[in-house]
Amino acid sequence: MSRANLALLVLIISIATLPLFGGPYALRLGTIACMYAILALSWNVVGGFAGYPSFATAAFFGLGAYIGGVLLARGAPLTIAVPAAGAGSFLVAALLGAALLRLRGHYFAIASLSLIEVFRELINNATDLTGGGMGLNIPLSASAGILADAMFFFYMMWGLLLATAVMVIVVSLSKLGFGLSCIRQNETAANMVGLNTTLYKSIAFGLSACFVGAAGAVYAGWVHYIDPSDVFDILYSVKPIVMALIGGLGSPLGVTIGAFVYLGLEEVVWRNYIQIHSGVLGVLIVLLLLFLPHGLMSLRGRKLFWRVKNV
């Protein structure tokens, strides 16, 4: 295992000690941090390893939130709802992936964006099952109190993050990861030498949806109320990409750090510029892409010096 992957695991394990230092606010922030890191790491499988510009994260986040939410509302426990959401998202994504991942570049981007719209409208219209536009209320899980509840969901999200990180590391070390990086570099050639690219891409798409869906289900249980415009927000698709760009595409450690940096920025912006927060977020995205297109990881040591010299 490489140093960067080890550092990633150490970083994630050290987050588990957060409740020792902070109160409810830190717990809330920590839960969101874990959720963002799950989204970014998952996106990295298809966006970073395979190089497909997927904007479908929000679609599977929402799908998972609704699978989990509906099950929870019918009285199923979290231990069933969350795995069901993960498995459901994996299946749907792997099947859709077999068809959608034949598209490349702009066409794939548009198709993955449209997926959000399709899922949102389907769930909007299935009023009997999902409550449609009125949203879905999810009963509070019986527990000791607010703080215990917050602690419970923090560790739930954290466990999911750990599982995601292990999945990403295993993929990156396995034949699958090698195949995906072949696909990124030259898909036609990979196909020529006998790599089953459709299968590889489908599995990658499924894996990238699986943990996002599970995170959606935990989110639904955590906030107790979801509605289609909330969980199918296109921002859930764009944020992981921005995080990955902040940290540097392709590196699991980079995208995780990117997720935490992004959350820090977002929190500062929310706090100070509530009226114009999305505009400030837009400015951040634009500045990042124009001036730091290879992420924070590109700022290490000599490279920066080299760049300055060659301006």
């Binding site: 981007a109 449209s114 909007n124 837009g282 892409l289």
Partner: protein, 288 residues
């Protein structure tokens, strides 16, 4: 009777959809950039018409003449200052960048105009006429005629003017166009300016018909996606065919299975088209 009304509605709406989509299609085809700001440009155009009517009582069809040059300039500047820096970057970067710019523009509109729905109400109202048993409001007819006229103007620019031929040349083969002495960067900026101007004008026309709010921008953007993919990328006639087809599908779909499912239907069709016929109805293959 109902069938006639559905067809007439679809034709009226289809021309407007085409007008929404041609600017988007031009930018995608020529610059190879998916411009997520397109919906917000349309809403900005609608606010422009609304403000002119509220402030100076200038009717929207006259506002077109003011909006077109202003929006052209706006788009030209955005392309020159920002987009041009990443024009050769992969789709991930350009798409995310236009998303960031869209956040800024949309937030600015929410800030200045508030998120309340506004409606441009013509006084006195223009009334309605009936064609072959179908009733059409006159303001919608005017908007449709103007949308068709705008589409025609773009067609003529691309067909007849020197700069239009250069735009088409860059779209067909960028490198060959450079070798023939075309200044690609300025063509990119002009194409983006034209796309923005068309979006602004489409917005002015939308103000005649639909309520205005910054929140409607994603719906317009979605229409542009679907029309582009249905009709095929980068041709004016394709956008027109795609627009009318989308409006027909929405109309017939609404009548048969309910209006709630019309959007789902159109996006499912989009995905089906992408997989089965990515070049669209009238597009040619190979211009990814």
């Amino acid at each position: 009777m109902l069938a006639a009304q559905i067809v007439v509605n679809a034709l009226v709406l289809g021309c407007l959809y085409a007008c929404i989509a041609i600017g988007f299609s031009l930018v995608w085809g020529v610059l190879n950039v998916i411009n997520l700001m397109h919906g917000s440009f349309i809403v900005l155009g609608a606010y422009f018409a609304w403000s002119l009517y509220q402030g100076f009582h200038i009717a929207p069809w006259y506002a077109l003449a003011i909006a077109a040059p202003l929006f052209f300039l706006f788009g030209y500047v955005i392309q020159r200052l920002i987009l041009n820096r990443v024009i050769t970057a992969p789709v991930l970067v350009t798409l995310t960048l236009t998303f960031g710019l869209d956040l800024i523009l949309n937030n600015a509109m929410i800030y200045y105009f508030k998120a309340d729905y506004r409606k441009l109400i013509l006084t006195p109202p223009t009334g309605s006429v009936s064609i072959a048993g179908a009733v059409v409001p006159v303001d919608r007819l005017i908007a449709t005629a103007a949308a068709l006229a705008l589409t025609g103007v773009l067609y003529l620019i691309l067909r007849r003017l020197r700069v239009g031929r250069a735009i088409v040349a860059v779209r067909l083969d960028r490198d060959a166009a450079v070798l023939m002495g075309v200044d690609v960067n300025s063509i990119y900026a002009i194409a983006f300016g034209l796309g923005t101007a068309l979006a602004g004008c489409a917005g002015v026309l939308m103000a005649l018909i639909f309520p205005i709010s910054p929140l409607t921008s994603t719906a317009y953007l979605g229409k542009a996606f679907v029309v582009c993919v249905l009709g095929g990328l980068g041709s004016v006639s394709g956008a027109l065919a795609g627009g009318i087809l989308l409006a027909l599908i929405e109309g017939v779909g609404s009548a048969m299975i309910g209006p709630a499912h019309a959007i789902t239907l159109s996006f499912m069709l989009l995905i089906a088209f992408l997989i089965l016929r990515p070049q669209g109805l009238l597009g040619r293959k190979g211009f990814e």
